[in-house]
Amino acid sequence: MRKFTYLVPKTLDEAISLHEARGERAKYIAGGTDVLVKIKEGKLAPDYLISLKHILSQDRPFLNNETGELYVGAFMTHRSIEKSPLVQLHYPILHDAVKNIGSVQIRNVATIGGNLVNAVPSADGAIPLIALDGKAHIYSAKGERTMELLRFFLGPGQCDLGRGEILTEVVIPPQRPRTGSAYMKHGRREAMELPMLGVGVLLSLEEDLNTCAQARICLGVAAPTPFRALMAEKFLVGKAINAENLAEAGRIAGDESRVRDSIRGVAWYRREMVGVLVKRMGLKALERAENKAEGGRLTV
């Protein structure tokens, strides 16, 4: 492995100026579970690693009681998100995703921000945050900008970050009442498994607790970037949420996918699984929405 210098800034501004001074030769590191693997494989050879782990910030997701927005800090580990009662209770789709990333050891160090910036099609963390309509907050010497997380992903391994920019958090707007959501990674093993397919479904119901008021269907590994199956979503709105309609939505989502063959799975199977899992996650989301018919603005 190439030698590198490890820098430990304490503030965002310090991190940015350290990066600016070193340019191409520098790379941010959070948990290092992607970046160090790439260095070991010789795919990256930075002279400087700038750690983001010592920048003072919140260490678990929290709610802005004024706005009802959930703040998920980029430097938070998957484990701290997994352990958050707030997430467990009100954002089960996010809990579904982070609790199955890698292993406990990985989740103890790996961050959600690293997962998003690494931007592989199989990033487990991206799908639920997109389904929750998250906004990415990005910080640089020029100040802060925000964008829809969905549009943050440009291609496999590519995201909309300029040199030296730091993803600081993902902010999730308040959910509608009667909302339920669920995520599942489809793989071959129970742990240490990148998804062959990741499927997240979020449903908001009308007061009848049956008609779909809003649907978000977000898919990972079904295209070069995480994406939303908009046609399938549109199909569901106004319809009764049941196995039949969800199966049809799944079929449409399958058609919207741009699955391909790889050593991790064949295209036909991936597309078929989009259908099956959209249905299953939809039913799970429905059940969760019914169980929590309160929803709406949260106070914790």
Binding site: R188, R189, A191, V259, R260, A267, W268, E272
Partner: protein
Amino acid sequence: MQALCSVGKRIPKIDAVDKATGRAQYIQDLKLPGMLYGKILYSKYPHARIVHIDTSRAKQLPGVRAVLTGADIPEIKMGVYKDNRPLKVGKVRSYRDEVAAVAATAPHIAREALNLVEVTYEALPGIFDPEQAMQAGAPLVHEEHKTNVLKMPWKLHYGDVEAARKEAAFIVADRFTTTWVTHCCMGTSGAIAEFDPANNLTVYSNTQIPSLAQKDFLEALKAMGVQDRRVRVIKPCIGGGFGSKLDTYAYEYIAILLAYHTRRPVKVEFDRTEEFSATSTRQPTITYISQGCDKDGKLLFRDVSMILDNGAYTSWGATTPSVMMMPITSLYRVPNVRYEAKCVYTNNTYAQAMRGYGNPQATYAIESTMDMLAEAAGIDPIEFRRINANKAGDVSIQGLRITTCGLEECMAVVKDQLAWDRPKEANEGVGMASLIHVGGGARVYKSDGCGTIIKMDDFGKVDLFTGATDMGQGSDTVIAQIVAEELGLHIEDVHVIHTDTDVCPWDVGAHASRTTFVAGNAALGAAKKIKARLLELGAKQLESPLEKLILQDRQIRHREDAEKRIEIGKLLRKTHFSHAGQMLMAEYFYDPTNENMGRDFRGNMSMTYTFGTHGVRVKVDDETGKVRILNYVAAHDVGKAINPMLLEGQVYGGVMMGIGYALSEQVILEKGENMNPNFRDYKILTAKDVVPIAAPVLETYDKDGPFGAKGIGEPGCVPTAPAVANAIYDAVGVRIKDLPVTPERVLAAIRAKKGLDLCGRELSQDHPDECVIQQ
């Protein structure tokens, strides 16, 4: 008989604390003064002529001490068929072919130097399918061999299969395939070679065959022109073997050659990618099998022909038919058997021994078709097997003498513990499969022996030098238990040394589930000699008749007179520090009276055979094709459990290895190239995938085994795949004939059974290609 104190006890492995605390020294931890680091350059093509190799730039890199290519080294022939060389000359035949090697003062310099070696290749057409490789006009992997089919005539015919076929009331026939899987040892491969000024060679290596490796390395020295020198093989702590270390490999010879050229110790250590792509796999197979029975369900014949993808070179994988013959001829009573196997060169990776040594591949085909035949005959699968079960006293048609046999009991236990007849939910199923394996050594080499030396010190402690190899399976612990039992000592009184050919006696190797049986008997033989001397000395000291004395709790005691006793240590000191003193030492070489196979492959290969039955309950998700294992019961007749805890460990590990083989593991080769040389994409199962496993043990007490024990190292993974495949069939009515049984295969089969295409649409002439997805 005296009650047992050590044998039969759940004693933790004696090296457990060292391993858990990181004190154990693996090859990765070893560093000799002045040591250089060797790295290997592998081929860029699966099949190509080597036109030119330019090493000049690599040699100039500061820190580089030697760069070798095939042209720089003598002709050292490796492998069972002597068709391989440490560094290739003229041609490469697979991606894992070693083209050049570098020794440098640091690993990263060696790696950098590899990038500076310039090799010009001329690509040749490759051949990757053994059935195609057998056809006329196929590219030849070894031109001088004239054909891709190895001249290894694995062929037997006992009885008259064709006549039996005519008589049979029910016949099934099918084709089964298995693919490449790999051992996944936690400790990667590695070796250090060092020459002394007189050219005596010491090799530190992860090997399961120290004595045979010593011989191989001596031959290499001879080829190098170094005559009449000594070779010493030292084993560090070994992080898993499973058969992978049963041969000597290019990297070991490369370490030797680099050390010879540099006059410095040289270490070659594999990283995980190399471990996946440059070590040998389990032998992949294509099996055509038919079996028939009469109207009462009695087996009449078994007819098997196999094609083995040999890969580009030949290691023990090509000899796995010798072990496959055992289940093919002797799993259940079969009066007429025919078997033929062809090993075929391809430009793929080459195979090696791996736990079970061909038995899992053969048993997959046999036990899948046993279920099919039971169904055809309308007999319950367990009953069908019971009708045909082997029994103690049988001599199988191959000449295997079955001395003890708990097969029927194993089936009964599985049936009971799995609640076989319990009503099932939709898509739930049960399946079972049995096994026979060598349990009393295996005479595949000219000797099946193992030596032991025991030396008693002045304090009642034992140093025991054995030829056995502990590679994690726990043989040191088991040997210590056997000796402690025999000498009335505590297990911690017995120090087992197995690491050094300079002090340890000969052994053929840690294979064939033979170590507890053979090395155990060798240790027992030496201990008996010591015991006899101790009793003699004790009789004199205690002035009692020898028959009245026992060894117990570190003492020699009179059976009836509690006053008459002496500490063994004290007795030893008295014997040592007296006029014409003596110290106690003993040696014993145990070679079982098993037989080499004859020309017709008949012969009692093993002193005894281990039997077992695995049963599994699964639930199949018929929308995703995923198979969930609800419960697993693996019952074995082990003769006697010397250490039930280690035994269970062997079974649990074997079963998980077998489930990986059945459901998920696969080295993916695309035109010979390893596409998944990492644990991310090689789907070995994880701790979280472990299923509920029960491991009931049957003790049939084999008279030839140490304290009645038979071998149990391999059986745990032998019948797993067919048991799972049979359960899937029971659950959803589809039979998967290719391993691994992936969700894709299951789902495709479920859909095909319903007359649907892959995408779940009615099969029709109009849109045959509709579900092919455009890339």
